[in-house]
Assembly symmetry: C3
Homo-oligomer: 253 residues x 3
Amino acid sequence: MSSSHRAELSAALSTLRAERPLIHNITNFVVMNFTANVLLAAGASPAMVHAAEEAGAFAAISRALVINIGTLDAGFVAGMELAVASATARQVPWVLDPVGVGATGYRTEVALRLSRMKPAVIRGNAGEIMALAGAAGSGRGVDSLSGSEEAIEAGRTLSHLTGAVVAVTGATDFVIADDVIPVTGGHAISQQVTGTGCATTALVGAFLAVAAPKDAAIAGLALMKRAAELAEPGSPGPGSFATKLIDAIAAVR
Amino acid sequence: MSSSHRAELSAALSTLRAERPLIHNITNFVVMNFTANVLLAAGASPAMVHAAEEAGAFAAISRALVINIGTLDAGFVAGMELAVASATARQVPWVLDPVGVGATGYRTEVALRLSRMKPAVIRGNAGEIMALAGAAGSGRGVDSLSGSEEAIEAGRTLSHLTGAVVAVTGATDFVIADDVIPVTGGHAISQQVTGTGCATTALVGAFLAVAAPKDAAIAGLALMKRAAELAEPGSPGPGSFATKLIDAIAAVR
Amino acid sequence: MSSSHRAELSAALSTLRAERPLIHNITNFVVMNFTANVLLAAGASPAMVHAAEEAGAFAAISRALVINIGTLDAGFVAGMELAVASATARQVPWVLDPVGVGATGYRTEVALRLSRMKPAVIRGNAGEIMALAGAAGSGRGVDSLSGSEEAIEAGRTLSHLTGAVVAVTGATDFVIADDVIPVTGGHAISQQVTGTGCATTALVGAFLAVAAPKDAAIAGLALMKRAAELAEPGSPGPGSFATKLIDAIAAVR
């Protein structure tokens, strides 16, 4: 199925590239480089800043904030909470990626606490969204064993509980708020590249700087789906695909 | 010399890809992304989890554990020791990569302490294996100045002292336990890409989830050697080679 | 404009590749992998070591030290200060990259403190050099909104205050000490790849092991400019360009 929401994406990308907003990321070690390159390719201005000494001050000068708990520890969580508090006080929108929630008690506790701090969007795979909603998560870590369709009900619950737009990604993505909007397209090889989900969250964060939460979620998901379609043909494997995915994000108009 | 152990590798890869085991990594910042992509290409399901609050719990739900001290600090070492203790209690096998042991007293002390906690496999270059065995290490950091052959005796000593299978990598690799098994093939350009050694350790970790330690070490080393052979032709330099190496790992059957 | 300083670069590269000096990096999480691969491609032997327990000891066995505050926190800053003190005591030269100075008070305070510890070279974009010199910085984070020419006066001031050679990078780079030397060439696509500035700093660090500060700065800047020119043709986007940039650094003679 070819990618959906092309017209909306095109409009959102034009605004993003014209404004080049500063996007504050507190994300995991595995994907920091890939995320920064994805955001640059999309047209945003990324920065990674996590220290408690400055995370609040930096969120205050940013246009949106991305919080990803992939390699969380006490120091990073302290920075996340200060950044979120500062962002909230200044109406800077933020997106939460609850990587691996359900895998350990610590991870679940931190993800739940953050989810109650009014994120504009929560983006996860089916297992994560189900775990965070209190439904039966797989507890398997960062890879989901469930199809995204199975998490729609959990997504509705989570959206209701938190007030956030919920984005479940998978073979088809769903943006869940008062309604459920499918985002189609993409390619399965994305699952063989670490950080494509995390980078999708970061793209949603970039669009939060220039669009309302539901529109930002659709644009972020649609951009990653579209770029994967463009990058896959001629990629002999996941290494080449990851490189071409960045090229493709920069090439989408 | 073309790569050895193709039949064993093929069998081990089939099992790995069928079972897709969760592999818990506490590794260094430099190679986290590359390692995750190498493990995904091989067919494993990688996760990077280091916090003391959850490292033990995460090791308990994993099929194997990879410990790499490249960018160690007190927080990471605490997580490593909790993960190892938890893995040991549940008979989850683990592999130790003593990056740069011998370069500083702190690094040597941590590597020695971990080596006494019953790793199934220890993987290092010649300088690291010699330093860890108490033989004359080069003290030069992460690049070895010695040929792998020179470390065979140290490898025997280290295997005897720790009970681990010892894997020394270099132009020819050696898997050392009761006997010494050479693993041939590969390409020298691998030395120009950061993290190929660390990623080899992670591959050994992945195979530990589906094979006995000696077989896992052989399969991990043989896969990296074979992939390097496939990736090198047509690579104009180390950047392209690193990308194609991931493609090649995914392509090996 | 094609790249300048080819003859000096060629001589410095020959020495670097013959000596393969160990370069100690305390740099940010985003660029650690890219930086290590850039240094390997250039012919240096990179290591990333940040823990307070060993940063001083490691600096003492290194030929040069690279300090980059991109993702600073208290733990990393402690390691940086110990490494710098150890390097200074042993006349190991070091380069400072004050990433994002001016964006937060914490970042400015740390950058200023480090700048007073006698770096041989300070490398930044125009906004960073102006902020560090006390001139009107943009306060925008890691991307500069000012042209490099605008920072020449601030660079002179900073060089005078600190005793360091100051390298301002941009469309044209400038090496500022008693005189102002332009380094030309390169390609604007470099700005779409995260860490090209940080990697340039690391190249300056590598050349500090084999050349005087002003010559090292010129060689590091000229190498990145030259490699970008070689890598850009045929790169369909920033992902491919980043990969080919590493190939190109290895290919420059």
